[in-house]
Symmetry: C2
Subunit: 180 residues, 2 copies
């Protein structure tokens, strides 16, 4: 691995309720200096859940996404609360967003979202042996749950409207692991 | 599809050189009102390139990522310049970051990165029929190019250090399309 650039200075340059931007003064190992900006990581991480039913379906949700100002078919996900493990957070989000708990939770992969600009990581958890269980969440409206047959997932993933990289990566990784 | 929430007000609440945060006052179709924050989309989009050599390798790069303050093995990518098409931007980035041009460029998929918080989209372009061609880029240091055998990609993707969701999604989608 190359030698990492040295961080000469890090300072907060913009801040809102959810986001904070940090400017990094960097000196690369060849002596070149640059100022990079990145989003500061706060919180305790995030989880994304692949809920698998006994009859061969994935439980997707149809959720409003402000960044694209539209609804999108996606996997349940959310932030890890203080004191929670990733598996506990995954089960809570599943209960809040889908109305199921899982007796079995397996860690599939930890993924980064846009590592040049943020340290944000998300743990992908596979939830199986599901049972009905609803917890109240903080969503402004009830989420539509969309059961999707596993054997049709590869067709869904290539459709234009199904575009979220983390969800595509998680489902293809899981399908690949399942086949091997 | 459900009825989209109405945007009652949108205002810029934080701004830096690269980032701008927008607060959206929303009224959901059930009457519930919430304030969401998202990163404002600027620019003309972004591209990620899968460079495929005639002898069965993918050309990865080892690049410093400020968000995680570490080097990572990734695909060449960058912003689309004003007046460029996505295919033109892909070829330019390939010349700048990898030192090759492509006689053949195919659009694979348009992906979103974190649609709840940003409108950012990236076009994945497959580059084949490569020839040596170097253009000067704006990188602070020369990027290490890492040729990787296609038949070992599925092993690489499950490794812990190979974590970027967009890169995993792009490579698995391409491998899947190639097999079918």
């Amino acid at each position: 691995m190359p030698t990492k650039p040295k961080i000469l200075k890090a300072s907060s340059v913009a801040k809102s309720r959810l986001f904070e931007v940090e400017a990094l003064s960097l000196r690369f190992s060849n002596g070149v200096e640059r100022i990079y900006e990145r989003l500061t990581s706060r919180g305790h991480g995030a989880v994304m859940v692949i809920p698998v039913t006994a009859d061969g379906q994935i439980l997707l949700i149809n959720e409003y996404a402000a960044g694209i100002h539209d609804y999108q078919l996606t996997l349940p996900k959310g932030l890890v609360d203080p004191g929670e493990t990733a598996l506990e957070a995954a089960n809570r989000e599943l209960m809040e967003e889908v109305g199921f708990g899982a007796r079995n939770l397996d860690h599939l992969k930890t993924m980064t979202t846009s590592p040049s600009y943020m340290g944000h990581k998300i743990d992908v958890i596979v939830a199986t042996d599901l049972y009905p269980k609803r917890l109240p969440g903080d969503e402004p409206e009830e989420l539509e749950v969309v059961p999707y047959p596993i054997d049709q997932l590869t067709d869904l993933i290539v459709e234009d409207h199904f575009a979220e990289a983390r969800v595509i990566a998680a489902l293809l990784l899981w399908l690949q692991q399942r086949q091997s």
